[in-house]
């Protein structure tokens, strides 16, 4: 390529950018049109299905940006008053709390629809709500652990399981939220003692994702781990024989005792403070709580619906759905997230 040709193509490229920039839709002009701008930290196939059904039923188009929750929050903050965001969706209550603290949400009862959501799964003033839940539970080797000896999360810190516990990094928000819930319930000191005990029981340095902890138990590298229930169900429902075999070697334990219940986190959504299409956004948020959507979350992503009366066709999920969740408001997960992380740092849980 000669220099003049390079210069010509660069000039052409710059021209193309100008055209692209000029032709792109301008969200300002869409105010009043049937559209809702969604910033989502989820990227599941169930969502695509829910969004498509929503547009079909209501005629409201969905403009979607999917990215990691922290980045989404930062973007809404930087966009300020001009933010085109109508709805922000995250997969963790801690993020919703942080967005709310930054003033990014406004309260709405969604024309009464919010009353269907249990009080523990929504913001006390209705600034956001959970539309599906995930339980963080103990995965154990069906072969090497006697379930009658399991009581709850405190077992993971029990010295008798020294060198037998696999854990994911504490960078992971699900671990942070679990510890945040302990801080809320038992206080910082007890939570720190627990985390310290778990670190002493590590079979290996924290690594991998939730599915990898299940694989490690199946391979005999450790006997206990903490996982979100849907990773296990996905493996158990896999078409891949090897993957299914790994899940079969592992069982889930949902802590349910007098003192301790199962830790749940939410996939949640909130109405953006400056939502340019408020009405459409409220219809969309209501739709997330509709029977159809709730069913899609249960059937396609193995999440628990927040509305208990919803019927769904997913026997594996239904089989484990009967557990008691910790009766604390998930907002507390956000309040204590910083404390939880500092505990992880102090006890040396990487």
């Amino acid at each position: 390529m000669s220099l003049p040709r390079l210069l010509t193509s660069t000039t052409l490229a710059c021209g193309l950018i100008a055209i692209l920039t000029a032709c792109a839709p301008r969200s300002d002009q869409e105010v009043g049109e049937a559209v809702v701008n969604v910033y989502s930290a989820r990227h599941y196939s169930s969502d695509a299905q829910v969004y498509a059904a929503f547009t079909e039923e209501t005629g409201i188009q969905i403009n979607l940006v999917e990215a990691n929750g922290d980045l989404l929050i930062e973007r809404v903050k930087q966009d300020g008053l001009r933010s085109p965001a109508d709805v922000v969706i995250t997969v963790d209550a801690g993020r919703l709390y942080r967005a709310e603290q930054a003033g990014l949400f406004q309260a709405s009862d969604l024309n009464g629809a919010l009353d269907q959501v249990p009080a523990t799964l929504k913001h006390p003033e209705g600034k956001w709500f959970g539309f599906a839940t995930r339980a963080r539970v103990i995965a154990y080797s069906a072969e090497r652990i006697d379930p009658s000896e399991l009581h709850g999360y405190e077992d993971l810190a029990d010295p008798k399981y020294r060198g037998r516990v696999c854990m994911r990094s504490s960078d992971n928000v699900y671990n942070q939220s679990l510890l945040a819930a302990m801080v809320e319930k038992q206080g910082e000191e007890a939570a720190e003692a627990w985390a310290n005990g778990v670190v002493h029981n590590f079979a290996r340095p924290p690594q991998g994702g939730d599915s990898d902890q299940i694989s490690a138990i199946a391979a005999g590298q450790c006997d206990l781990a903490l996982v979100n229930h849907y990773y296990y169900l996905r493996m158990a429902r896999s078409n891949d024989g090897d993957v299914k075999a790994q899940a079969d070697a592992v069982t889930l334990f949902f802590p349910t005792s007098e003192t301790e219940h199962t830790h749940v986190n939410v996939s949640g959504a909130g109405l953006a403070a400056g939502a340019p299409h408020r009405e459409a956004a409220e219809i969309f948020l209501q739709y997330l709580l509709s029977d159809k959507s709730q069913r899609a979350f249960a059937e396609l992503t193995n999440e628990f619906p927040v509305i208990e009366t919803v019927q769904y066709d997913n026997p594996s999920l239904a089989q484990i759905a009967d557990f008691e969740s910790e009766p604390i408001n998930v907002n507390a997960l956000g309040e204590n997230a910083g404390t939880a992380q500092r505990i992880f740092d102090r006890v040396g849980w990487p």
Binding site: M1, S2, L3, L6, L7, T10, A13, C14, L16, I17, L20, T21, A24, P25, R26, S27, D28, N37, Y44, N63, V65, E66, A67, N68, D70, L71, L72, R75, Q78, D79, R82, P84, R98, S169, D171, Q176, P205, P206, Q207, G208, G209, D210, S211, D212, S215, A219, Q221, R234, S238, N239, D240, Q246, G338, A340, Q341, R342, F344, D345, G348, P350
Partner: protein, 550 residues
Amino acid sequence: MAINELTLPVRHKPALRGVPVWPAVTGALVCGAPLIAVMGLAIFGTWTDYLIHIAQTRLMSYVLNTLVVGGLAALTAGMGGAVAAWCIARYRFPGCSWLEWGLALPLAMPAYGAAYAWYDLTQAGGPLGFLPTVNGPIGAGLIFGFTLYPYVYLLARETFSGQSVDAYEAARTLGCSPLGAFWRAALPMARPAIAAGLALVIMESLADYGAVVHLGAPTLSVGLMRAWAGEGSTPDAARIALLLVSITFIIFAFERQQRARARMTNPAGHTRPARPVTLGGPKAWLVSALCALPLVLALILPLGRFGWRALNTHTHTHLIESAFNSLMLAGLAGLIAAAFGLAAAYALRSKKPLAVFAARLAGLGYAVPGAVAAVGVMIILSGVQMGLDGFWHLNTGSPFPLLLTSGVFALLFAYLSRFAAAAIGPSESALSRVTPSLDGAARTLGASPLDVVRKIHWPLISSGTILSGLLVFVEVLKELPATMILRPFNFQTLAITAHNYASDERLGEAALPSLCLVLLALIPMIWIARTMVARHKTPSGLDNSGRVQS
């Protein structure tokens, strides 16, 4: 000797007076703006006790892991890249014409992709479970070394191909073995190119987040993301980012100082490239295997694992649209970056302090983890937006259209500011081969500065410039955080699709978009490799002698 002395006075004069450097300086300052924004955030953001907390608890282990990961990546990529480049440039063996461009392909494999695949392969119960599990700082360092060595390979191969054979042959005559001559004569002359490649390798390893988290090798970039995600403090994340940038800056200030001390221009004033030696027998196959090894480890095995998982998984659609978007973004960014890199290399050559400062500042953007760089871009864009809104309002009564979400402008800005180092490095390295005496000779013969650039420099540096464009092209194909957060609505790319699945632990579904990513990277690579190979074969590229080196 006489010629050598003649060149001495020219060396220290700023070359090419009359070629304007201000466009490059402006461009570089604009590219550096997001980094300045991050610095601003670090200094003026709310101060808490978080840094004290982290210093008392985990800072030391972050720094240690960072050093191990960066050091091992540099070692692996440096050795692998330089040796592969030498073999390709100097020998002919089975598969070498294919490997010549194939060796660059692992660049298309995102490091986190390779990390997921290798971990999946070697963890207990995996198909390669008999091998030590690829994890921890050592595993991460190796993963970076094997996926990023093409930076070194591409730059070094370019240098070895164009290198005069004189020094190497002199070393051989003086009794060095081929290996010894490579080590003592050829390698030192390729040092600027290898250093430029290593700079990219180290910066990218240190800025990575996905792979080190998955493999359990928490580096400073993990500490930074924890400050943001766990503590909720973006300013503290920015502060740790600055620490990361400082470490990188010190390493490269040191390297540049070393490089300045040992100037590698060719005093003879002409180059006599080597004719490749044709290898035969087992030796040939050994070299083939050696050169194919990095390709197998970094690309073929991980893709094989993805593919195998994909066969057992139901896959999805929208790939064509994503591929088109990826290609458009990467192509545009690559073109602009090539032009910018070239201009910046000249600005650097002018040695004007402002130009050097601007280009180095722009280059540092590469050392910042993508997510933080994206925040810097957002800060700049929202500032510009406010300014434009005010101005527009005065004139038209309505605010300016949103910069974000209204096209690819924001994305291209982010890419250029983040990958300026990849744009500048190859051009700068190529330009360093143009001896100052060449300029002097051309000017003495009456050439204008632009003539010098067009007729003397361009033929010598064009491949470096094209390489700049290619590197940025591939980087943009893989880029995640900035693309995720700055893209327009309903805009998918292959990297985002692959990442969405991989981050949700669905390797099988991530496989197909990953495969497409590599295939897309193939297209320009084959074209470029062919262009380069063709040029090396033209008569003007060969010197008078036509001797075959033994």
